[in-house]
């Protein structure tokens, strides 16, 4: 067993700050206040507020007197716990054994089993740190063979800023020797009594007779000492992953430009990616909701052809959406929701290293990007339908399933081999390569149809009369015709309904 503990000494300020990216709030003094409403005191401060001379524990009124531009926000313990929970879900991509300790504001991860997958403890720790930092938290890290020891070491880094790592269980007692007893969550009375006895560090307490300690302080002190040193079991309650994903970022100020939202969206998408990785899933639809102060919410639905989970891909899609439209109103909150999870299909890399594998998956990504900007209906494929009416002899195919490489249809036809191809082969009727969206009525002069000049009929007629059963009957004589510009057209005369000439296609 090897545990990574993450302790967040600045959690209450990080929860508020992280929604805004680096630039927005960093040079603005911000404080979280707590305590009775008559006399609120400062609980946490950002760097700008600390530089202004404010200190935690100061009365809010005094703080305002010192720093006039101070923004004070009341502390919300529930929100802090929620933030920890969300971060834990995101960290579950590295190990299924993630536990949240809300009291000491820390998260512990059991990583012995997944260390090899991520390439060793150093690489894994790097990933964890990157994730935590990208979410805007300042975490202290401790690594130890027991969860409590890891937590103690993480909190001890506050006093000695260096990663404290102990991978060998036999060295644990030695490494823990200098850890102050105050880091245990013991009662004030216990700690005070220990301090008056001259016992302030773990190394002071370990040589003491156990029986005496038990009589004076009860079981909790001894049990915690044993748990930290691995002499007593310390089972933790692991988080369970939810079925759906939703997360949000509230802004302290209204955000007016969509460009400002991008770093926030990036954080949200990374959070989503962590969750999807932990679930071994991907998704095809993500709903981004922008909440405004007065206007109705703006919902932006992003879709992909293939289940995807890479944050960068989703961010690109959102960027395309923003590129098309301005914000309807200033945004005060941004939320992200994933309703349906799909199994993630990992891309298989070729044993031989070639550039091909990266190109393959980008076909679906390309279509996603194009559809996100130009609209779902603007990107499509065509299919042959068996119908004699030219306008029903083909079909548009949009949306999901557009880029299954190779598509199911094609795979089936390949199985059937050439046989299928020959049986579906139409009689050799020449059909035009372009067809008009709607047949265009042609002006006739002396019964000679005109399209960029008088048309000369070259071939025909080919009579198509069918479709009486579904209310869209056609009764047409098709001709191939050429105009003075040498454009070859496919025209027809509606011989039952009005005997008018229409242009229907062009032989390009």
């Amino acid at each position: 067993m090897l545990w990574i503990a993450l302790h967040f000494p600045q959690l209450s300020i990080d929860c508020v700050m992280r929604g805004h990216g680096e630039s927005l709030l960093s040079n603005l003094p911000l404080a979280i206040h707590t305590g009775a409403s008559q006399r609120p005191t400062l609980h946490a401060l950002n760097t700008a507020a600390r530089e202004a001379g404010l200190k935690p524990g100061m009365a809010l009124a005094a703080a305002r007197a010192i720093c006039g531009t101070l923004t004070a926000i009341p502390r919300s313990v529930a929100k802090e716990e929620e933030c920890l929970q969300r971060l834990a879900i995101q960290l579950a991509q590295y190990t299924p054994s993630v536990s949240v300790d809300a009291v000491s504001q820390s998260i512990v991860l059991e990583v012995a089993s997944s260390m090899k997958l991520f390439g060793g403890i150093a690489a894994l720790l790097g990933e964890v740190r990157r994730t935590v930092r990208s979410q805007g938290y300042q975490g202290l890290v401790g690594i130890a063979p027991t969860p409590l020891a890891a937590q103690l070491l993480a909190r001890a880094t506050q006093y000695h800023p260096a990663t404290r790592m102990c991978r060998d269980a036999t060295q644990l007692t030695e490494r823990l020797a200098d850890v102050p007893l105050a880091l245990f969550g013991w009662s004030y009375d216990t700690l005070n009594t220990l301090a008056t006895l001259g016992l302030t560090r773990i190394k002071d307490l370990t040589p003491m007779p156990r029986r005496g300690l038990q009589q004076r302080f009860g079981d909790s002190v001894l049990n915690d000492l044993d748990r930290a040193r691995g002499l007593l079991g310390d089972p933790r309650l692991y988080i369970s992953l939810p079925e759906r994903f939703s997360s949000n970022r509230e802004f302290v100020f209204e955000v007016h430009e969509s460009e400002r939202l991008m770093p926030v969206a990036d954080g949200l998408f990374q959070e989503m990616e962590g969750f999807l990785r932990a679930r071994g899933a991907a998704t095809q639809t993500v709903v981004v909701t922008l909440k405004h102060a007065r206007n109705a919410h703006t919902h932006i639905t992003l879709g992909t052809r293939e289940p995807a989970r890479h944050a960068g891909h989703w961010l690109r899609l959102l960027r395309e959406k923003f590129a098309r439209a301005e914000l309807a109103a200033p945004v005060i909150e941004m939320a992200l929701r994933v309703e349906q999870l799909r199994p993630y299909l990992a891309e298989t890399h070729s044993l031989l290293r070639n550039a091909v594998s990266t190109r393959q998956d980008s076909a679906a990504n390309l279509v996603d990007r194009l559809a996100a900007r130009l609209g779902e209906k603007a990107v499509y494929q065509i299919e042959v339908e068996s119908d004699h009416r030219p306008e029903f002899a083909w079909r548009k195919q949009t949306g999901a399933g557009l880029t299954q490489w190779p598509p199911v249809r094609q795979r089936q036809s390949r199985l059937n081999g050439g046989q299928a191809r020959s049986s579906t082969k139409m009689p050799t009727i020449n059909r035009p390569t372009w067809i008009l969206r709607e047949p265009r009525a042609l002006v006739g002069m002396n019964d000679i149809p005109q399209y960029h000049g008088a048309l000369t009929l070259l071939a025909g007629p080919e009579r198509i009369e069918t479709g009486w059963w579904d209310g869209k009957p056609v009764a047409r004589d098709y001709f191939v015709a050429q105009n003075p510009q040498h454009e070859v057209c496919w025209i027809y005369r509606d011989y039952r309904f009005g005997r008018k000439w229409y242009l229907h296609g062009l032989f390009a």
């Binding site: 070729s350 070639n354 550039a355 091909v356 594998s357 190109r359 393959q360 980008s362 076909a363 990504n365 390309l366 194009l370 900007r373 130009l374 603007a378 990107v379 499509y380 494929q381 065509i382 299919e383 042959v384 004699h388 030219p390 002899a393 083909w394 557009l402 190779p406 598509p407 249809r409 094609q410 050799t428 009727i429 020449n430 059909r431 035009p432 390569t433 372009w434 067809i435 969206r437 000369t456 009929l457 070259l458 071939a459 025909g460 007629p461 009579r463 198509i464 009369e465 069918t466 009486w468 004589d477 050429q482 510009q485 040498h486 454009e487 070859v488 296609g505 062009l506 032989f507 390009a508």
Partner: protein
Amino acid sequence: MSVAIEPAIPQARHRPSGLVQLTELAVFRVGELGGVSTAPNVIGTGFAGLNRELAGGGWPRGELTEILCDGVGMGELALLLPAMLNLQAANLAALANTGRSAGGGGCVWIGAPHLPYAPALRDAGMDLTKVFIIDSTRAEDSLWAAEQSLASGAMDSVSVWINGAIADTSLRRLKHAAMSGGATCWLMRPTLFARHASPAPLRMMLKGEASGELTINLIKRRGLPPNKTIILQSRSLPCLGRKRLQEQQQRITQNIAQGITTQTSTPPSTPLRDWLGRTFGQAALQATPVRSRSMSPDR
């Protein structure tokens, strides 16, 4: 010009062999002219007459090609279809050999003047699952989509139709995207822009003929003198043969005047016709003047 080239030659001798191999692929040599289709970055046009006139013997891959053409329906699409088929075939061959293919054989059509007609493309032998169509009316959208498609490397060819003027920088961006993605880019524009400068190494002007043939004027090409005119039979429309043209024209005009509609050589199969064929045999079907008209309740 020769002054600029000559100092480079002695240096080339001292290059390590790997670098020489690399430059073999990237450098175009005047000696490698049409007819020799050994160049790897070329796709055959499907027309021997055109292949002979193009550097490397085909459409350049990873390059921008401009096709200037007024009007729709003079065989301009038929000029490109064989190349698209060649790309698809090359893709299938690569798929069979390695299990994977580079561009997937995909082609994108952006801002086409009309809808591509699926049955015609299928009859031409196209794999429609590899054809992506993008509707776009604004030139900037078309250019953006083209650039994205080219640069992604996910497609083998991109065809763009743009009617308006295109800024020189946009053309350069297209060219750059084509080069980075390795895809072939065909840009269809009106002939009005023939006199505008363009970074495309191959530009051609198309003109339809009454005989259905396509006159191609190569107004810019690599390696060979420009303004070469060739005539191709790009479409195989039987009605467009020169000899048959006159008589057929006369016959049809006559018939129209008399109000007679004649049957085409191969009427479309209908449920009735299929049933007749099965029951009485194909011979009976051909002997009787069947009108390809399905059972209509009002008759």
